[in-house]
């Protein structure tokens, strides 16, 4: 073992003191900007300067592993010239500045891109007033001053003052709305491998997740929801649960939202007793019949029926019907994808304490903005009476956009008149998720004489999120209601130039609840589009990477990413016999990603050997965190492609435990090389894009081994 040492005391002092599990809300309305020297001085929404010269930075996004608790404060600290070693970070709610499109949430790979200008501007504005305050104090021109590590310095006189010493004066000055921002060439923090602020806590077991929270006199509850979606408990024998030592009560548990399942809850002094009570109670419950389709065969039949008929028009350009008649070479294919569960590593959990005049909630959520209205509605208490203590999220994946477990905790705390921690046993978590929709696609592409796609006719069917989230819906060109996320990556902007395109999308109604899964609609659509592009390249007799380069020749950033992937993966050197290489590309919210997978087949089983991922996400704020995101997203995508499928049987999810829902393991994971195209463009998203390129790159690699097109996932 190596002898390098990091002292626990130093590390805990430096990092955990700044850890972010304590939720502090800004009081509304606008904060008072005047302060005496002995008090912390707030400047707008993002920055508070303390008299001891620590700088407190507001974090408005959820830390679910993607590194926002490091990357976002870096944006502020860079422009402020704050001393990174003495900043603190705290969760923040309750101001419009924290919203994205009017609502505070963390999804869609948007945290850094939407914060890039506001957070840098905030840092630069505060730096500007601190400089002005120093200039006035020392009676020197502002442009003779400089800033460094939370200090203003005047080299000619040797004058120096900390931000803490200047803050009270600076607070009296108006914050400039458009302060000058640094030239990226002058960045000292952005673009460097600043260590993650959460590394120590997450390597010592001290990071606090919702499931870890302990509140005095807290009870622990576990839900028992139906095996079949939509079933309702009619009768049950609570005495068998109450006979378990530690079980306190059995309560009917309301549906946490429209279209969600009600059930029962066993409340006890601890999880184990509650879970034993749940096991005893379960066989005594008589449920009504479920409301979903019975099984995968019925779901597949429904999707096939939808594909057989004309469907609502989501997008049309050119005249695809006529154009297809003019093409000689056509490629036709049908693709299907399964329902997927999120399987956040931390099962759903939340603590709530509802009192007559106040509510406190402890949970890790991606949906701060949804929780406050939900709690208002459930308790009738005003927003000012609600305190959210954000915790670390034991994986987000899109599952923690939902607030069902928070509703459970609020409902049960109200019923029990005590603080209640709700923990969903893994079985409940698997069987009452909001699944990535299963989809089916029928596509016909006609090629022009040079082998380029001339017309692309694509009909898809699957469950839609707009069934629950109507505000996401849009109107198609002929007036139909459509789900833009269901067709994302198929409508415009389409990443390849195709003059004639028609996209029809039919919404299925299986009764299986669906939601947002890392990558959302693109997890389905990129698999289909990129697989088709590989098929078209074959039809055109062109190398699939070169085929993409030819199609994307007008976009230099796409060309650069594909070229980098080509070089780094050794694409032009044929792999050894028995090993195949496949490529896929995406432009996901501006982030260009090209993934090359090397794979082989051992006794009919796919074996993933190597992944090379080239990325242009604009300027990379923190290379280590960016690398983690791309590498992790690649594994998530490969796990889905190879292994994951929610099985529907008897109107519900058949799998009850992680033993029955395999995820990619260490020995199945490839070596991964991640390379970034150097860029000074504004940053774009990193959390999702590489999730969607991995599956089609894998199936293309396997095709290169055995010549079989794999058009249905998972592969196992």
């Amino acid at each position: 073992m190596t002898a390098f040492t990091l002292s626990r005391r130093t590390l805990l002092g430096a990092t955990i003191a700044g850890a972010f599990s304590v939720g502090i809300r800004f009081s509304e309305p606008e904060l008072i900007r005047e302060a005496t020297a002995a008090e912390p001085v707030p400047f707008g929404a993002w920055i508070t300067v303390h008299p001891d010269n620590t700088i407190e930075i507001a974090l408005h996004k959820s830390e679910m592993g993607q590194g926002v608790s490091t990357a976002l404060p870096m944006l502020v600290a860079e422009e402020l010239d704050a001393d990174w070693d003495t900043i603190t970070v705290r969760d923040a709610y309750g101001r419009p500045e924290y919203g994205t499109f009017g609502m505070q949430f963390t999804f869609g790979s948007m945290s850094v891109s939407t914060s890039w200008l506001p957070l840098r501007t905030a840092g630069a504005a505060v730096r500007a007033v601190l400089l002005e305050a120093a200039a006035a104090r020392w009676e020197v021109p502002v442009d003779t001053l400089r800033t460094e590590r939370s200090m203003v310095l005047h080299d000619a006189t040797g004058n120096a003052a900390t931000y803490g010493e200047l803050a009270a004066d600076a607070a009296l000055l108006p914050l400039p709305a458009q302060p000058a921002l640094k030239d990226p060439a002058d960045f000292t923090l952005i673009g460097t491998n600043v260590p993650r602020r959460d590394s120590v806590a997450k390597s010592t077991g001290t990071a606090s997740y919702g499931i870890d929270v302990v509140v005095p006199d807290m009870l622990v509850a576990v839900p028992l929801r139906p095996a079949a979606f939509g079933a309702v408990p009619e009768s049950w024998d609570e005495s068998v649960a109450l006979a378990i030592p530690g079980v306190v009560a059995v309560k009917p548990l309301p549906a946490p939202g429209a279209g969600m399942d009600s059930g029962l809850a066993v409340i006890a002094t601890g999880f184990w007793a509650a879970s034993q009570g749940r096991d005893a109670l379960a066989p005594t419950v008589v449920w009504t019949a479920g409301t979903a389709l019975a099984d995968d065969a019925a779901i597949t039949a429904q999707l096939e029926a939808l594909l057989a008929e004309p469907a609502p028009l989501a997008f049309e350009v050119g005249n695809p019907e006529a154009a297809i008649q003019r093409t000689k070479t056509r490629v036709e294919a049908t693709y299907t994808t399964p329902f997927l569960a999120h399987v956040t590593m931390e099962p759903m959990s939340a603590v709530a304490h509802v009192r007559a005049d106040a509510v406190e909630i402890w949970t890790g959520t991606q949906a701060q903005g949804f929780i406050f209205p939900l709690v208002e509605q459930l308790t009738g208490l005003p927003r000012t009476a609600i305190v959210l203590h954000q915790q670390y999220l034991g994986t987000g994946m899109g599952r923690r956009v939902e607030t069902d477990v928070v509703a459970d905790a609020i409902n049960l705390s109200s019923m029990m008149q005590a603080p209640v921690k709700v923990i969903w046993p893994r079985e409940e978590d698997l069987r009452h998720d909001f699944y990535r929709p299963a989809t089916a696609h029928a596509i016909t592409v006609g090629l022009d004489p040079s082998g380029r796609p001339f017309t692309w006719n694509h009909r898809l069917a699957g469950e839609s999120n707009i069934t629950r989230y109507a505000f996401f819906s849009a109107t198609g060109p002929t007036g139909d209601t459509i789900d833009p996320m269901m067709v994302s990556g198929l409508t415009d902007p389409f990443r390849y130039p195709v003059p004639h395109r028609r996209i029809e999308s039919a919404v299925a109604s299986s009764g299986v609840p669906v939601g947002f899964w890392r990558g959302v609609g693109e997890t389905n659509n990129a698999f289909v589009v990129e697989s088709m592009i590989n098929e078209l390249a074959e039809a055109a007799g062109t190398d699939p990477l070169q085929y993409r380069l030819d199609l994307l020749a007008d976009d230099p950033r796409s060309v650069a990413v594909l070229s980098l992937a080509r070089d780094e993966s050794g694409w032009d050197t044929p792999p050894p016999a028995g090993i195949g290489r496949g490529v896929a590309f995406t432009d996901f919210g501006g982030s260009r990603v090209a993934t090359v997978i090397e794979a082989t087949i051992v006794d009919t089983a796919p074996r993933i050997l190597k992944a090379t991922v080239a990325v242009d996400c604009g300027l990379v704020v923190n290379p280590v965190i960016a690398q983690q995101q791309i590498s992790g997203a690649t594994i998530t995508g490969l796990s889905a492609a190879l292994l994951e499928q929610v099985v529907i049987a008897e109107g519900g999810v058949q799998q009850r435990s992680l033993a029955e829902y395999p995820l990619l393991r260490y020995d199945q994971a490839p070596e991964i090389t991640v390379v970034f195209v150097p860029s000074a463009e504004p940053p774009t998203g990193l959390g999702e894009p590489a999730t969607v390129t991995a599956p089609p790159a894998l199936t293309a690699a396997l095709w290169a081994v055995d010549g079989l097109r794999r058009r249905s996932l998972p592969l196992r």
């Binding site: 993607q66 997450k202 034991g394 893994r426």
Partner: protein
């Protein structure tokens, strides 16, 4: 009915009053307040609950607390022998392994047990030791680098 169960926890002898079939995981988390050991599946499939029992890595969700009577249990909270972090923890930080972090106590305990028994493990030995620990964030390549770093290699 609750019974006293005595064992050594992170170097200290303790006795807990609990129903003897309660899994060690929940005794650690709820009776003893050591929440660094995580619940992920309850059936031995994920490794989030990994602790050391007489030095060997075990799934604490599968062990009734009575079965550890008289034995030595070490959790993530007791892994570092002193004020300095354990070399595996230091390697984890140096290689920026953790993303959401939820699985990482289990990963670190599995890796520390591996290196205690096999100071210079081969790739196959690492794969065998680590494949019981799921990570939804996909940190496996970083886990590999960190184990190699802790074992004295380059981390490559």
């Amino acid at each position: 009915m609750p019974e006293p169960v005595s064992f050594t926890l992170n170097g200290t002898s303790i006795t807990v009053e609990t129903s003897p079939e309660t899994p060690l995981l929940w005794v650690l988390r709820e009776s003893l307040g050591l929440t660094g050991t995580k619940y992920g599946c309850g059936v031995g499939s994920c490794g989030a609950c990994t602790v050391h029992l007489d030095g060997a890595p075990i799934r604490s969700c599968l062990y009734p607390v009575a079965s550890v009577a008289g034995k030595a249990v070490v959790t993530i909270e007791g892994l570092a022998p002193s004020d300095d972090l354990h070399p595996v923890q230091q390697a984890w930080i140096a290689e920026s392994v953790a993303q959401c972090g939820y699985c990482q106590s289990g990963q670190i305990m599995a890796a520390a047990a591996l290196l205690a028994a096999t100071p210079d493990p081969s790739d196959e030995q690492i794969a065998e030791a680590m494949s019981g620990n799921l990570c939804r964030c996909g940190t496996y390549p970083a886990v590999r680098r960190a184990i190699k770093l802790a074992a004295g290699g380059t981390g490559a």
